[in-house]
């Protein structure tokens, strides 16, 4: 058996993917725990038990994400930039520009036609334009994060946030809530603000088709649609697997290549 795994320990969630012969046989996604090792162990254990496997069955494992240096069971670690690029490529073989919005960062990566990273940019030390921004706003609107995306299509008069700073935007939103604005209009404004931040990064790496989104925010259709309008490009839907686990998929593919002696 040539079973490989990828483990992506992000700031908000930990993801694990187990692959065999280029196919995902199991995956798991958990809220990150207090330290990367605990998160990695828990998420990997869940993925393994779903597949009825044990860690001994994994021939090669690659770690990625901000906590990758602290995972004891990986054979190697690779940056999330390269892993998201590779994961997106597996989800969509035509992917050339990847916009990855994770819990605490937002990245844009441009790939060459062979899937190698050509250029990347990441947001700076600021929660604006990240999954955390969405979470804070969803909590303020008292709706589940999963429902944030659908607010855009229900909105008839989206609000405009005067600042994408998480703290100032909260103050803005409280003002809109107090003045009786509809939740969907406020939510649509939040999604639009997210899209604007991501568009800045995407434009700065230079956009090549196909454009894809990975990370948890890729599941927010409001952000995706606004981003499509801003970039003037269609963002390819990736249905093969959850785009939030793209980093772990990329790590598993690198693991497979390492096992096959290709890298």
């Amino acid at each position: 058996m040539s079973i490989v795994a990828g483990c992506d320990v992000g700031s908000l969630t930990a993801k694990a993917v187990i692959m065999e012969k280029g196919r995902i046989i199991s995956s798991a996604l958990l809220r990150s725990k207090t330290n990367p090792q605990l998160s990695a162990e828990a998420v990997m254990q869940e993925a393994l038990s779903k597949a009825g496997l044990s860690m001994d069955d994994i021939r090669y494992c690659i770690g990625t994400g901000y906590g990758r240096k602290n995972i004891s069971f990986v054979d190697k670690d690779i940056s999330e930039i390269a892993c998201h690029g590779r994961g997106a490529r597996w989800l969509n073989p035509g992917a050339r520009t990847i916009i990855d919005i994770g819990g605490q960062d937002c990245k844009a990566v441009r790939l060459d036609k062979d899937g190698n990273v050509v250029k990347f940019v990441a947001n700076d030390k600021c929660a604006s334009g990240t999954g955390r921004f969405l979470e804070v706003m969803a909590r303020l609107l008292d709706i589940p994060i999963e429902e944030m995306g659908s607010l855009s299509s229900k909105s008839t008069a989206p609000i405009t946030l005067s600042s994408t700073c998480t703290v100032w935007a909260q103050a803005d939103i409280v003002k809109y809530i107090n003045s009786g604005h509809k939740i969907e209009d406020i939510g649509a404004g939040v999604n639009s603000a997210m899209a604007k931040r991501a568009a800045i990064l995407a434009n700065s790496v230079g956009i090549e088709q196909d454009v894809c989104m990975t990370g948890g925010v890729a599941k927010n259709e409001g952000v995706v649609q606004d981003l499509e309008k801003l970039l003037g490009k269609n963002i390819k839907k990736m249905r093969k697997a959850d785009p939030q686990i793209a980093g772990a998929i990329g790590a598993a593919i690198f693991a497979m290549e390492s096992l096959n002696g290709r890298s």
Partner: protein
């Protein structure tokens, strides 16, 4: 041996500063590499490049500067307001860039509000942005004006002979630094980038005699290496990538350590605290003031100089060739217009030549973003591992 340089490069003061102050001698701080320290040396004063290292908070810096300003002058002002530069009897502020020029006004104002935070000798040294004859004349006048003011304030005479001796001493230091530069550029780098940078930084805060002496000793102690005739296409035996670091002001050796610990050797740099043009000697044949004028103004190594992009691009290319650089990290402090825009041009032009570039925007001061910076540096080194098939993209 290296500890002396590392110590001097890691803090505001060092053992030499303490000894100098205890012996009752004067120290004058300066803020820009366009200011000739030879002038102060010739006056028996220790020239000290003012640094913002070890800044822990920014309440003073942020009070006098606006929010959209580079953090380097803010850190200097913060430390000045906290009294950390009280060992200075004088300071020379230059128009390195607009934010640095404003340090003159901001420090004066801080001096009014924080008693004792401004040194007795406080001089504004203007540096033109061009090298045409009028600008050269202007700069020469600035040097003469500085000499007159130093002579008047400190009651000293800066004689031509002493100036010549100081130039000779500084030139010797440049020769030694160039030896370090050759060692780090070797196929099997004899000095790490972090150590080479520590040495260069300490050269700006140590008495030159002691610096030269320590560096001579260090060079004598380092294992001899056969010089490599191979100019480019060098590859490290340890598999580390050969990196050049360029861009905004940096005097934090931890930045170099971070880059090297990620799996690279910083074999060259082009930063104003580093070894930029130490091979260029101040002409000893010329009249000293004229020689200093030409040396300090005509080397347009900083993007503050107008119309000299080509010269700076060529300088980087020379360094790339000499040290076998495989990738460039173009770092700049947030809101640094000069390096921010020039880094964009360098990235465009070096990527066209097939040299991978990473642009890194950061804050000056403690490396609070190390995790994120490390991730970008590692991703960049990974990117260098594979050869791209095209560059694509519209920007």
């Amino acid at each position: 041996m290296m500890e002396i340089f590392q110590e001097a490069a890691s803090g505001i003061t060092n053992r030499y500063i303490t000894d100098w102050v205890n012996s009752g001698k004067k120290i004058v701080g300066y803020t820009c590499s366009f200011m000739p320290p030879e002038i102060f040396h010739a006056a028996g004063i220790l020239p000290y490049r003012i640094r913002g290292i070890n800044t822990e908070s920014m309440e003073i810096g942020d009070t006098y500067y606006g929010p959209y300003v580079c953090t380097f002058p803010k850190c200097l002002l913060q430390l000045a307001g906290e009294g950390k530069f009280n060992f200075l009897s004088g300071a020379v502020i230059s128009t390195g860039c607009d934010a640095m020029r404003r340090l003159d006004e901001c420090w004066r104002k801080t001096g009014e509000d924080y008693h004792g935070s401004i040194p007795g000798f406080f001089h504004y040294f203007d540096v033109p942005h061009k090298t045409d004859p009028h600008a050269m004349k202007w700069f020469e006048n600035e040097i003469r004006k500085l000499i007159l003011n130093v002579e008047k304030y400190y009651n000293v005479k800066i004689k031509e002979d002493s100036l010549r001796e100081s130039i000779s001493l500084y030139n010797h230091g440049r020769t030694l630094l160039w030896e370090v530069e050759k060692l780090r550029a070797h196929e099997n780098p004899g000095v790490s980038g972090t150590d080479a940078f520590s040495i260069a930084v300490s050269g700006t805060v140590m008495p030159r005699e002691a610096f030269n002496e320590q560096l001579e000793q260090l060079l004598a102690d380092l294992p001899k290496q056969k010089s490599s005739s191979k100019k480019s296409g060098k590859q490290n035996k340890n598999g580390n990538k050969r990196i050049m670091v360029a861009g905004s002001i940096n005097d934090d050796i931890e930045l170099f350590r971070l880059i090297e610990n990620a799996g690279s050797n910083v074999v060259a740099d082009n930063i104003c605290f580093g070894i930029r043009s130490e091979a260029d000697q101040v002409n000893m044949e010329d009249d000293p003031i004229s020689a200093l004028t030409k040396h300090y103004l005509s080397n347009s190594v900083c993007p503050r100089m107008f119309g000299a992009y080509k010269q700076r691009f060529d300088l980087l290319q020379t360094k790339i060739e000499r040290a076998g650089v495989e990738g460039i990290i173009l770092q700049n402090i947030r809101f640094c217009d000069l390096h921010g825009s020039e880094n964009g041009l360098f990235e465009r032009d070096f990527e066209k030549l097939g040299i991978p570039c990473l642009r890194l925007e950061r804050e000056y001061g403690p490396l609070t973003e190390t995790g994120r910076m490390k991730m970008r540096i590692e991703a960049f080194l990974e990117r260098m591992e594979v050869k791209q098939t095209d560059s694509g993209g519209k920007s």
